[in-house]
């Protein structure tokens, strides 16, 4: 079973919400649509669900026209950012709702509902009213309702975004287990997220979206190791990959009058010229023999410190694996790990990466 989108476009006003979107998805796989806010993720999911009619393009599921099927007849299930349930129904009735629409036998409904509730850890909650549940439990009900349909396509639109940190971590783990279980093997799971860490953790394929376009599709490893352009490099990293302009001359990288770097092995064959260089925060560390940068901001996150530093026009974020305090304006010495250097051309397309270099 495969879901194919060809040239999907949607422009309700002056801006493209979907711009020539093409992809092919197969059953039993998890696809994460990763992009910033307003990238077009929700619009794409709503288009797949049938809640939005695209201006142009086609959608096919197993060579059948999927796009012309009205929303209530499509074989899709959807979990939203908000905890969307039926407030007037109990947990059991909520989960049973899609099956009742199909006029299934009550014993079949019961068996499937109980199985779905067990999957999401809500067995014993059948008779509770939705309002009596916590946010995490409400989202589990929504998830159970999407699973019980055994739909061909399951859409999850940032389902964890409105949960607190702890619950998000817990549910993310549970989601992964549920999606990799037998119950989901016949479905195409499409998960949208703004969080690159979440996308990487879910595994499967990642589709990176920006301004209504799909910039790159590949496994999480492929996208992480070889982002095909600067936007993908930024979207797939948290904090975003540092980008700075420089020149390659005489086998060296010249970033400023004071900062020159040796060309790493994977960039040895770079031609002389201007490039955009990229480096993840982890590649920028403090070293007494490094280049002078002044501190703009230091952020402590758990057991790590994000250091926002600047040297002339070069503003970067470094990641220190300990909690350290810095004063704004303080000068620190910084080293670039060139083995982790990405190189993009002036059109912002990838030229060389540590995993796919030009030797």
């Amino acid at each position: 079973m495969s879901l194919i989108a060809s040239n999907l476009s949607f422009k309700p006003g002056n801006e493209w919400h979907l711009d020539n979107v093409c992809f092919e998805m197969s059953k039993g796989q998890i696809y994460t649509i990763l992009g910033r806010t307003l990238a077009g993720k929700t619009t794409l999911l709503k288009t797949l669900a049938g809640l939005i009619s695209p201006d142009q393009g086609t959608l096919t599921l197993d060579d059948r026209d999927f796009g012309s099927i009205p929303v209530w007849k499509r074989e899709v299930a959807m979990v939203y950012q908000q905890f969307i349930n039926y407030p007037h129904l109990s947990v059991y009735e909520n989960v049973a709702f899609p099956l009742k629409q199909r006029r299934m036998q009550s014993d079949q409904i019961k068996a499937r509902v109980m199985k779905a509730l067990q999957q999401v850890g809500l067995d014993g909650f059948e008779n509770r009213k939705i309002q009596a549940l916590s946010g995490g439990q409400q989202q589990r009900v929504a998830l159970a309702r999407s699973l019980v349909k055994e739909a061909s396509v399951i859409l999850l639109d940032e389902p964890l975004v409105n949960l607190d940190y702890k619950l998000r971590e817990q549910l993310r783990e549970e989601f992964r287990n549920i999606f990799s279980s037998e119950a989901s093997k016949d479905s195409i799971l499409i998960y949208s997220s703004t969080d690159p860490v979440e996308a990487m953790q879910l595994g499967g394929q990642i589709l990176v979206m920006d301004e209504g376009r799909i910039l790159q599709q590949g496994t999480s490893k492929e996208v992480y190791e070889n982002p095909n352009c600067t936007k993908v490099a930024q979207i797939t990293n948290d904090p975003a990959m540092n980008l700075f302009e420089g020149r390659v001359e005489a086998g060296r990288i010249i970033l400023s009058s004071e900062i020159e770097l040796e060309l790493p092995q994977h960039c040895k064959r770079l031609a002389t010229g201007s490039y955009i260089f990229g480096m993840r925060a982890a590649g920028i560390t403090l070293n007494q023999t490094g280049f002078p940068f002044s501190v703009e901001l230091s952020e402590i996150s758990g057991s790590e410190t994000f250091l926002h530093i600047r040297h002339e026009m070069i503003g970067v974020v470094g990641l220190l694996d300990s909690v350290q305090n810095f004063n704004t304006g303080e000068v620190v010495r910084v080293q670039f790990d060139t083995m982790q250097l990405y190189v993009f051309d002036q059109n912002e397309q990838l030229v060389s990466s540590p995993y796919c270099g030009l030797e």
């Binding site: 809640l51 209530w72 899709v76 969307i84 407030p87 007037h88 129904l89 709702f97 899609p98 629409q101």
Partner: protein, 288 residues
């Protein structure tokens, strides 16, 4: 200041309450135990004589009460169904939505008595435009002088006059509903009719109950429409409880007896509405 003096602050409100609610009720109770009429205008004490007369010797009141129940339940039901239908139409994005919203409210903005006079002219059996049109089909219904049809005519006027009120309450209710369950229902495979049955109607149940009770209370006081349209006639065919109480009190000046009628009517209404509200809650909310 003595702590007990705080109760003095309650006094203004208490006095107003006494003046506008407790005193009139108290006086009506006392009046109902008297034989005060136009021949003997005095607050004498005759015990429960008026009540005995009402329960043993006044079939006309109970017939009027039965008629009132029929009229109010039927008209409120029709107002609810039509009002809900109209509210559903303009709830969705349709062309000239604002125009229709105002249009549907026009009957409510008119003066009921004047509109009833117009309706009476409209249904006039020899001069009215309705029978003028129907005469082309050799029909001449007795809108105001037939025992059965006159009730129907009162219902038409009541439904026309008060459906917009129901429409307004239900539209406000629809507009306040969360959008998310509708989104979920469409994804879960519910078409428009099933979405209405399983989502819209249940979510609207609390608002519907409120709207129905408000209208039932109003409809149970029906007086002006009957007075202007048929004067309770032909005979007593359209006479309702409130109109009968009006006749006893302000035409026959049997103040003591009409006070007993009013109190009995009030108690029956309170009990009826409590039962109706419980039934509606059971049917519309718990039934979901």
């Amino acid at each position: 200041m003595n702590f007990k003096h705080k109760y003095l602050f309650l006094l203004p409100g208490l006095l107003v309450l006494l003046a506008i609610l407790i005193f009139p009720i108290g006086f009506t109770v006392r009046l109902s135990l008297s034989s005060w009429d136009s021949f003997y205008p005095a607050l004498d004490f005759i015990g429960i004589e008026n009540y005995v007369r009402l329960f043993t010797d006044d079939a006309r009141f109970w017939e009027a009460f039965g008629r009132l129940s029929l009229l109010s339940v039927t008209t409120v039901f029709l107002q609810y169904v039509i009002g809900f239908g109209l509210a559903l139409i303009v709830w969705k994005e349709i062309a000239f939505q604002r125009f229709f919203r105002v249009l549907f409210l026009i009957p409510m903005m008119t003066t009921p008595v004047i509109m009833t006079v117009i309706w009476r002219t409209f249904f006039h059996e020899s001069l009215g435009p309705v029978n003028d049109i129907l005469s082309h089909f050799n029909l001449a219904p007795l809108w105001l002088s037939s025992e059965t049809l006159s009730k129907f005519t009162v219902m038409i006027v009541e439904v026309w006059q008060w459906t917009p009120f129901m429409f307004l309450l239900l539209l406000a209710g629809l507009l306040s509903l969360p959008k998310e369950p509708f989104l979920a229902a469409s994804i879960d495979g519910a078409g428009p009719i099933r979405t209405f049955v399983y989502v819209t109607f249940p979510l609207m149940a609390p608002i519907s109950i409120g709207a129905i009770i408000i209208r039932l209370i109003e409809a149970s006081k029906i007086m002006d429409t009957v007075y202007v349209l048929t004067s309770g006639g032909p005979g007593t065919a359209t006479e309702t409880s409130s109109f009968y109480i009006f006749i006893k009190g302000l035409r026959e000046f049997q103040f003591g007896y009409s006070a007993a009628l009013s109190l009995t009517y009030l108690i029956i209404m309170i009990i009826s509405f409590t039962i109706i509200a419980k039934i509606l809650v059971k049917l519309m909310v718990r039934g979901n």
